[in-house]
Symmetry: C4
Subunit: 273 residues, 4 copies
């Protein structure tokens, strides 16, 4: 167990935790860096802006890559079991956001993969650990957790429906009306049943319009099902809402400990040293 | 009544039930066969892929047809009253999925009817009998059963509305603006009231745009009704949710028996022999 | 007060009521006549069908007009205060459905007004008086009655929003991008906020796309409000749901009497003679 | 403290309050003026109408500008702390609605800014103070206040999702298919996830259609979340609904005082003198 004034322990607290002042500052600073780096990638993708500021953006992208590389290394050395971090979802995203820059040295087109940096935005949800929203997030999380299975049943039903309806529509409308193959027809069925309705493919024959009307009315009626499910589970969640600890384990860095926990429920090491 | 070690009884258990190990394996295997057979039909519909692998797909389709024919025959001989199966919804779908292959020997275009095989995907809901989702499915089923009548009243109202609004729009916008006849205008009203909005037909005149705005606002407001109904019935369903037996009757193969049932409620033969 | 075997009283029972066998038969027959007459008007509007069967449809339309005229006269003479019927919503619709035929004798184009016959479809809701759906309809009616005010507040808010957002968009996108004037921009705002999204008018400039994104997210978030309101009021309605009498007053023909009423609450004459 | 018969106090009651007869008349008159002035701006934006009545509209716009200028001055002199009004949201809107007219004397194009007058429509919500809707509005207000944080969490999640999904789509579909840069792709993701679906940008490649299908299904499933939240909070709001006073403070003109308040909770001066 590391002593309280061990530098790696303190570094862990700053980088992985948010209950110290330095930890909060690090989290906020990191979010600003991620956000501005994504703005740079976005603006660079606009051709007219790229023409004027392309070189500036190129420099900025390398500065961000440098910062994120340092952050990645610090994350690796401040944790006891680095592989736990490397293969965690957030760890893989952090790596995915770094690789394109270094890859672009060898392959010309690799820079376009910088868009994966947008995935780092998922860290924005860490901001909820910073305080005010904790209750709301826990509440929503619990309700959604209770709905996952019912929503899965619902999505499976919708997927089955769109395959069947798309296949039938392919038979009804034929190739020449835009329904050029079954996967395309299934895409149309999804566009229609979710009420998106691009209009890039739309029925032409009277029979096709009839089938489409049925699909639309089905979509209109069943949208009510997930709503009903979530409303129902929100009502249940309110009754047994439970607080979660904002700390992650200093040993294995996993989260989700109960508010009265003193030891990590995954690796058994104490949460507060 | 068949003795427990009668081969037809055991075959019935494997094919129609899912509470033995062999029954579960059969269900999973069948689902995989259905799923892959639909993938083949799908890919074959994509012209570029058909060009390369058309012959392979042709062979595969006949293999699947063979397998499903054997399955169909086994289903017929393992049940006491085969006609009950033949004329059940699932039985008709199974037959519908078989016919196109044999029809294509005599009629060239019949192969396109293979898309009906997608209907067999409905068997996917049997997977819920395999375990974990049973409670969720029963819960949703019960809530939807309670909503059927109210949703019917709602759909009847929507259908009446679209006929009236479509007819008025036909008068307002006239032929030359795409509203070429009343059924077409009703199709437009459905596209609009369900908020799909393809844009293949859209109002041109100021008066038409005004009527369209009214239709949209109506659609926007009444989408709330089915949602409210289902949410309400989910809340009711939770209170008196009731378990359903995963077994089907070995005699007439119908399902939906209560968890404490010992005899089939449709034909009176014992469920467990 | 008419004696029980007065012919006008019995005629009233057949035409306005549905609790005798003859009354039910009349209601069902009338609905079939309305429904088929609308089918004829619909088919006649399809140019290719009109070419072949135009003359047949012309004859059929006059037959229906004749039938509905007889029905209208019977309604007038079987009721004590005919003006009450003439100026009731259903009475006005019945008249509106008759006029175009007679008007077409003098004015060539008047026949196109036959689409108003679709309004008679509203009589379909009388079918709910025929039995099974009575509870569901009463339940929904009561919940919607409770929601009317809240939905009005919601719709007023939406209307204010679309005027403001449409005006701003007119300033942002200008004439040349399809937002040719403020009413048109408001139409666009309604198409967008209700998530219909035809795409006949859509933002072109980056600034316009930004404003549009805000409008969409607003629409996406506030769709939840009417749903919440109706769900809430359905829950309330269940508690104090109240039965309604299927009879209308033989004197003034108004409906909505409580199940224990013996006298008409509008004109005081006895409901059962 | 002003004596009850001070002219400024009485003017304040008429302009800022609605619990006297004169106050109600002023509110209604103002709303009519705002509404008709917006109608004028709207009609003037329609080119064909502008051609005929342009001069009349020009005169009318100056009359409205004059009336609103007088109203603005009266508001300034009848309140004790005018700056409180000037920098309040409604005060800023009132000013924003005035400036364009006077600006148009010096700058030719400034008249197009008259559309900001539409913002004054927000005063329509004052009508709820006039009586019947008070309970409904208070009820909705309270429920929405309770939902604000949860809806914020939801909107933040949606925004994160559209940035990530838009970026990925930019990589998948490339420039030539309409996804010309990342901000444009994010706009597409918003159009899709909110189920608006203009169709001005839509996926072309099979891979793009697959990603789009995922986005649509996500949008279809998560629309349920805000609905669930609001329904839930409406149920809570009903229990502890609380009346609000229709009066505003005669000193600082702020509103929202509890029904038992005697002194302004913002500046401490008595509400009734």
């Amino acid at each position: 167990m590391p002593p309280k004034n061990d530098w790696r322990f303190r570094l862990h607290e700053v980088i992985y935790e948010s209950n110290t002042r330095a930890g909060k500052a690090f989290d906020v600073g990191l979010l600003i860096a991620i956000f501005t780096s994504i703005i740079v990638v976005m603006l660079d993708s606009v051709q007219s802006i790229h023409g004027h500021y392309g070189k500036l953006f190129h420099v900025l992208e390398w500065i961000y890559s440098g910062l994120f590389t340092i952050e990645y290394i610090l994350r690796l050395i401040s944790i006891r079991k680095p592989w736990n971090y490397v293969f965690s979802p957030l760890g893989l995203i952090d790596l995915l956001a770094l690789i394109p820059s270094y890859l672009s040295i060898f392959f010309a087109g690799a820079q376009s993969l910088l868009v994966f940096r947008a995935l780092r935005l998922l860290r924005v949800f860490r901001i909820f650990k910073l305080g005010h929203f904790l209750t709301e997030v826990n509440f929503l999380k619990q309700a959604l957790k209770g709905s996952v299975r019912k929503i899965s049943v619902f999505l499976l039903t919708v997927l089955t429906l769109v395959v069947i309806l798309g296949s039938i529509m392919y038979l009804v409308e034929k190739r020449e009306n835009g329904f050029s193959n079954i996967p395309e027809s299934i895409y149309w069925a999804i566009v229609t049943i979710t009420t998106v309705g691009y209009g890039d493919i739309s029925p032409v024959t009277p029979m096709g319009k009839f089938v489409a009307s049925v699909v639309m009315l089905i979509g209109y009626a069943i949208i009510a099902v997930p709503t009903g499910i979530i409303t129902h589970d929100l009502a249940l969640a309110r009754r047994n809402s439970k607080q979660e600890l904002p700390e992650s384990c200093p040993n294995c860095s996993r989260e989700g400990h109960d508010s009265d926990a003193e030891y990590c429920k995954y690796c058994g090491s104490p949460l507060y040293v």
